[in-house]
Symmetry: C2
Subunit: 155 residues, 2 copies
DNA sequence: GGGTATTAGTTGTGTTTGTAACTATCAATG
DNA sequence: CATTGATAGTTACAAACACAACTAATACCC
């Protein structure tokens, strides 16, 4: 019988068993790939694309509403809104009943960009997921949503 | 019969159907949560933790080898190595047969940090994944690896 | 062996992010 | 109404990142 005394028994822990790592690798890959649509074609950053998406998908919103829905910090949204306005993708209108808030709406150019990018997103998603069975896709979707919605994984 | 002419039929596309979005949300959540272990306790950044991990898990490596294995850019690794050396977690030794390269090894402090962080990583992972069945966990793992390894999702 | 190309690693620069502090407006309470 | 506190959004500053240019050492090859 062979003696395995020299083997490191303690750490069979591989990076590929570590979910944050796996998630990051996959997220980074797909994000970088999809970037080229909104970045090259419209000069947007990821946050800008997400803000645009929320406005296109859910109609006029305030910055705060976008923060809440999208889980983005207000400074990120503020900068994205400023950039999108500069490029004439959105329009701001102060509310009269509460002049702290402003309602954001897509311009015609913004709607066009939205339509285009949503179509690209759907196509990208289809191409990405066609490699997997419908059951597997649904399992992944469900678990990712669940992880995202989990309250803190307690120490 | 009601006329639905005004409905936007074209875009039943939700963010929650968009895999890059789902991946990013889950990745960001878990990364931020796990950050506190290496960040608060050892003052490391994510790249530093990953460099430390590779050295602890796979033994002495050059910076280039870490780049290749971890899929990190050399400038990131260079700065992580500098930071880890400053905090005395690693040691550098120029190779005699090729004086461009330097072999990186963990110091005692580096090994201690590695052992601690790997244990925390394993515990975090267990707590995260205990909410799912073994089959689901395996499905997710497999698909995330597959996505990461995919060549470009062609336009 | 001398010029050219590669390779390992570093540094510099502009861009993006995170955090905190700030302004302006509104709400609540005395 | 005046003061205090909360809220929507912006700005300022430092940390982090990406990408290109750089240094130093080695390989190639005529």
């Amino acid at each position: 019988m062979v003696y395995f005394g020299d083997m490191k028994e303690k750490s069979p822990f591989e990076l590929e068993d570590f979910m944050p790592y796996l998630l990051n690798q996959a997220a980074e890959k797909t994000s970088l790939e999809f970037q080229k649509y909104y970045r090259l074609k419209y000069g947007m950053l990821r946050t800008e694309w997400r803000v645009l998406f929320h406005l296109g998908r859910y109609g006029a919103l305030t910055a705060k509403a976008i923060c809440d829905r999208a889980g983005l910090h207000k400074t990120k949204v503020s900068r994205a809104v400023a950039a999108l306005e500069t490029r004439r993708f959105i329009q701001r209108n102060r509310m009269e009943q509460d002049r702290r808030q402003e309602v954001l709406t897509l311009t015609r150019a913004g709607e066009n960009a939205f339509d285009d990018l949503v179509a690209e997103a759907a196509r990208y998603n289809t191409r990405l997921m066609q490699n997997f069975s419908a059951e597997d896709a649904e399992t992944v979707r469900r678990i990712l949503l669940q992880i995202t919605a989990m309250e803190t994984v307690q120490p």
